[in-house]
Symmetry: C2
Subunit: 207 residues, 2 copies
């Protein structure tokens, strides 16, 4: 399927739809309306219909969306039907927490390698992965065809790790360090900073 | 200052601006243009000017924005100039990682109490906080005037924790569990799910 270019806001909402649809599928729910989706996800049903209409007419008026079909379509659009090996640098508490999430990462997106620069961390097991030294990063990323790198090191080390990811051929980076990293424009970076989430919640207090 | 109602997208971008402005301030940079902000944050400068113009005319044509003034204004708008005590439930790897972030949480927003249901966790120290049993949650939240609750428990426990937060009087919840929780409409919930971040990155591969 050839998909049109879609806005970043829509790209960010699709995984949220997908998570809920997967939950419905586990509960054997077969159809869902935009009203149900909207209520559950705190979004306007019209917005949801508009988002999904980008990709063709999936829904049936008065009946709603076929859950299994919509899951398949969203996975296609997000390109989760391809294999996406992921590597992580920073075997601290957050790195360990993310590796434990691997169980939730169905599809073909998985953390396949973990690295750390600290001798204390190298060699330890994290959810079936052995923490490797940074010197192994380039080769391991090529071997596993890693496409996305996750950074969970302290702020002052994040740029160095980003440079190593880029040099090793990673196409996108998810950065958890509370610092902005510089990469070439062809590399996509998303910042996952829980402090910004907390701050945007503050706005809604007293509203 | 009376602020107009602003869109969720803007509310989510303001903390990102703030993070970068704080970085500039630490480096003693006094003025910044929307071009610089845009380049660094991967946003359109026109979008940035539009976002900031919501709150009045901060910028000077051809000169840019006064960093210190803009920081102060964004903090006001996000209401970070008030005290916002935060509580966290789930003293696992992720909970520990978030408590370690407390050092980055300047302003008046801090994790002031940590809880867990597991006897193994109760009593351990997490960044100067002692993990308390869930039975202490209601009283502790009232005592510390906690306004935001963070959930870092496994998916199957998240709803129960959310219920306890709501009952204790929390106004907003940041949920890291990979599950959608139900709360009364007056409670604001943000989901911080790293799997959705990873999925939206997948879309940009090959683009």
């Amino acid at each position: 399927m050839k998909t049109p270019k879609i806005s970043e806001a829509v790209v960010r909402r699709l995984p949220v739809y997908l998570r809920f649809l997967n939950e419905l599928s586990r509960r054997s729910v077969q159809m869902v309306s935009s009203q149900d989706l909207g209520q559950k996800l705190d979004l306007n049903p019209a917005q949801i219909r508009k988002d999904l209409a980008y990709f063709g007419e999936f829904g049936k008026k008065g009946i709603g969306y076929d859950v299994a079909y919509l899951i398949e379509k969203i996975r296609q659009i997000l390109k989760l039907d391809q294999t996406i090996p992921v590597a992580l640098v920073g075997a601290g508490n957050l790195g360990r927490a993310l590796c434990n999430y691997n169980a939730y990462l169905k599809d073909n997106m998985k953390i396949v390698a973990v690295f750390d620069s600290s001798p204390d961390k190298i060699g330890i097991q994290m959810n079936n992965l052995t923490v490797l030294p940074m010197t192994a990063l380039g080769e391991s990323i090529k071997e596993h065809k890693v496409r996305i790198g996750i950074i969970t090191v302290p702020a002052f080390e994040a740029q160095l790790v980003a440079n190593q990811f880029v040099e090793a051929g990673v196409e996108a980076i998810l950065n958890f360090a509370p610092v902005i990293i510089k990469v070439p424009t062809e590399i996509r970076v998303h910042h996952a900073d829980f402090t910004t989430e907390l701050m945007s919640l503050a706005y809604y207090l007293d509203h």
